[in-house]
Amino acid sequence: MRITIHHHKHYDWEPLPPDVEPTQADISAGRVKPAQSGKWLMRVTKSTGDGEHTAAMVGENDIIHTILRVMRHDRIVLTRKEAVARILGGAVLPHHTHRSWLRDIEVHDGTPEMSESEIRAFFDRYREAIDLDDDDVNALVAAYLEPATAEHHVEHLKRHFKIKGAV
């Protein structure tokens, strides 16, 4: 699923000056990342005006494993829309931008990639590992296959990230 996230500010990663040492707090807070040979990159904030955006291709593999993870930990059945929002919020945006800087979101291709038999076989494989019974699998399959167009994803993501103009 191709997603374009428009924002008015974003993060970039630049070399940490050689006379600066990151603290454990800096590392834990995600203000720095490793570069090469013991050097570091620091997270800086930039703005390039209209047109700046983050492009993302959310893989179906990440969607279905996120659904499994949340089911196991919270016993919550996620739809694809909700799983995509969690992936963007938890794994994508922290590297690129702050959710309060988002202006708009576009989605291309919202429909599930896997057929009912394929997604059922996937969840069946994890029955023991995730402690899933028949009702759980049926609920997960139904939620995964919930019809959702690209527009439905946009509406959901705008609401999830509290973007102005959300439905």
Partner: protein
């Protein structure tokens, strides 16, 4: 006193160690257990520099700069009796595919079967003058690298055969593989030793993201384990499985290797700096 350029060149000529890479990755492992989340530490990667097709430099040069094989006479073939296809090969008995050097390694071949109206592509992992071997035939609509329907060779005629085109450049490196092997990575590695191939740990395509005009892009890969495993290393690949191999530009060891029990999830984040 400043060193003259010629002196610097002489010093570099004597230095057998490799210059550090300007394109590199860093990895972060996050493990989700039944009780909560264990976030690992960001760690420096190792960028492979083997003189050969799997190393980062060759892959990047071919990907960014077109590569050496993009306009040879049999780079495309209209359907005819000489062209046939199998699960991992495309044969054109009338072709003269380039084989010198790295041949067509890493390039993408698109194939279309007129008989069953199937359009697929594959990453070339080796070739002879007449046979292209690919990692698999991919579905063109899958974001997770799922296999597509192999085009049917039905009579091999101009109306029922196979048409193909070999594209310039290189296939992207978007597959992540993991291993329990704890031997320290080396820049000369071309494979991930003892890479896991069970169904829960086969290579996966992740979520790609990039912000316009910034210095990095990111991959996120998610796995859910069905057994107890300790993940010691990861690497990014340009092909779907260990049989195909593929380019392996980035490899990383886990400083604190996470042990996952059945049901645990590993989310592996890879930031690649392209500066």
């Amino acid at each position: 006193m400043m060193t003259a350029v010629q002196q610097a060149i002489r010093d570099a000529n004597r230095n057998t160690s490799r210059r550090e890479a300007d394109t590199y990755s860093c990895f972060l492992a996050t493990v989700y257990t039944k009780r909560g989340t264990k976030r690992g530490a960001w760690r420096h990667n190792l960028t492979t520099d083997t003189a050969g097709k799997t190393g980062r430099r060759d892959w990047q040069a071919n990907a960014m700069g077109l590569g050496p094989s993009f306009a040879f006479a049999t780079a495309s073939g209209a359907a005819n009796a000489a062209i046939t296809i199998s699960a991992t090969t495309l044969t054109n008995t009338a072709a003269a595919f380039p084989t010198a050097g790295q041949g067509l390694f890493g390039q993408v071949v698109c194939a279309y079967g007129l008989a069953n109206n199937s359009f697929v592509y594959g990453v070339i992992v080796s070739n002879t003058a007449t046979v292209l071997t690919v990692d698999q035939w991919y579905s063109v609509t899958s974001t997770s690298g799922a296999a597509g329907t192999t085009p049917t060779t039905s009579g091999g005629s101009s109306t029922t055969g196979i048409a193909y085109i070999v594209l310039p450049g290189q296939a992207p490196v978007s597959w992540l593989g993991v291993t329990q092997n704890a031997v320290a990575p080396a820049a000369t590695d071309t494979t991930l030793t003892a890479e896991l191939t069970t169904s829960d740990w086969v290579r996966s395509v992740g979520t790609w993201s990039h912000t316009t005009n910034t210095t990095t892009y990111q991959h996120v890969h998610t796995f859910t384990s069905t057994t107890t495993v300790t993940i010691n290393k990861e690497a990014e690949f340009g092909a779907v499985n260990t049989t195909a191999g593929g380019a392996m530009p980035f490899e990383s060891a886990e400083p604190n290797p996470p042990t996952l029990v059945s049901g645990d999830t590993l989310q592996q984040t890879c930031t690649i700096t392209i500066n």
